[in-house]
Symmetry: C2
Subunit: 295 residues, 2 copies
């Protein structure tokens, strides 16, 4: 269990509740698109990104409630990226979070539009719930979220990832892809919480460094799980990276070295939290759980 | 020519220039995605939505320069919607603005991501260029743009449009689809200009009513062009609505009645501008040109 502390489970529950509120109801027209959005957002998911936003806000000295729309926005944007990633023209995956992928249930056209709509809804959610007195920090958080989702972030990483299929990459080239593809959004999740919590500069810096290392470790463990996980628990097809000849850490440096590098990044993440003292403990626990996750 | 006044041509030129600045360069990594974005945004287009934003800002008494990022954002979002609309799983179109559609040149995966990236870049563009002193109005404009692009706007219209293929609709049902699919973004283009220009309430109201009628007329003339236009001039495949059994005004009420209803909406649009007096003239000229457009 990654969310291995009661406060992390509490934040996850708050995010689930809020997502249900912020997403249009499946009985609201056009019903099919809202059903498709909810299918991918509400049907499970670890909520790590959203929880990181809330913890970061709390650690920074803010009220987690103020960061709740941002936490939900990052989850919606993550879900949009998964839906588009799973489409036949991209990774062509059939299983996600233990269920058929969005386009297998709703068809490609609705899945495409559900992804578009979740990106849009994430931003609407933030713009519709601006905490009074925090406007400047909040807009800065929104800006970082959208930039992290751009071609200089998540989308750029997906482009490079597609281009790398079947190719032999150096570790540095792969690291850059992971920084963008996975790291940017995790980093933004933490920085959003920090900004909305009005973090002191050294706290924001610590959260940023933690996010960068955690994001990289998270993607390396994702690679390892694709090779070694129990498909039932993982909830997606095991071995699909190999089948698609994806560039991955295990493919470039081997399984043992990949595990060692993930551990190194987790240590780096935890070390970055030193300036936070006691209040960083929950983030350290979360980082350690990432290393041992089974899904 | 729809932009039948020198000031409209001037605004169009300013938008072209600014789009070139706001879009990442094709030599910036990952090059392919930026080339794909630019292919669809910079390769022609009437720029009606962006021009409406600048004219509305001017009419409201603001500086058009302040609305330039919003004008470019609405053009990027429009381009994103066209790229996704043209994909094989949606309308499966081969020709757009006289050139092969994005996925025919860059492949489906890059076209999908280029659409995603243009939505993202439109919002980044607005958030990166906030005019000092206009923050509140500007954020309100951004909010309206994103809402107009949501499932209660453009995306919702596309969903209903897909669902309507091969079905016989009532005129009221079709009008609702058009209000969302085409009208919402045109309405938002005008309201953004009005908001950033700090329009008086009755001016903003006039711009809104104008936008709603113009948006509907614009989509009806689109239907008529699909039946009657010269493909060379139109720049997209003629007769494709018929082939896909799309619900259109001519299909529901016939060509003559569709033309009459478009004229009625244009008259309604112009009448809505009465409170603007002399300063509404350029918008009236534009509305009249929409009725007689050939592409």
């Amino acid at each position: 269990m990654i969310l291995n502390r009661p406060e992390l489970q509490f934040y996850k529950a708050k995010i689930e509740e809020a997502l249900d509120t912020y997403l249009p109801s499946s009985s609201c027209a056009p019903e099919i698109i809202h059903a498709a959005m909810r299918y991918s957002v509400c049907g499970g998911g670890k909520r790590i990104r959203g929880v990181l936003t809330l913890v970061a806000c709390d650690v920074a000295g803010g009220r987690w409630e103020d960061a709740l729309p941002a936490a939900c926005a990052v989850e919606m944007i993550h879900a949009y990226s998964l839906i588009h990633d799973d489409l036949p023209c991209m990774d062509d995956d059939e299983l996600r979070r233990g269920k058929p992928t969005n386009h297998r249930v709703f068809g490609e056209a609705i899945a495409l539009l559900a992804g578009d709509a979740l990106l849009t809804q994430g931003i609407v959610t933030m713009l519709d719930h601006i905490p009074v007195g925090l406007e400047q920090a909040y807009y800065q958080a929104l800006r970082e979220l959208v930039q992290a989702s751009s071609t200089q972030g998540m989308i750029g990483g997906q482009v490079l990832d597609l281009a790398a299929e079947g190719k032999q990459l150096t570790l540095d080239a792969l690291k850059l892809i992971y920084r963008w593809k996975t790291g940017a959004l995790i980093r933004a999740a933490l920085r959003m919480g920090g900004l909305i919590g009005r973090a002191e500069p050294q706290v924001l810096e610590a959260l940023t460094r933690y996010g960068e290392a955690l994001g990289l470790a998270f993607q390396i463990t994702d690679d390892l799980l694709d090779l070694q996980a129990d498909q039932e628990i993982l909830g997606k097809t095991v071995g699909s990276d190999l089948k698609k000849q994806k560039a991955t850490y295990p493919a470039v440096v081997g399984i043992d070295e990949a595990h060692r590098l993930a551990t190194e990044e987790i240590n780096r993440a935890c070390a970055a939290l030193a300036p936070l003292g006691e209040s960083g403990k929950v983030l350290i626990a979360l980082a350690e759980a990432v290393l041992h996750r089974d899904h």
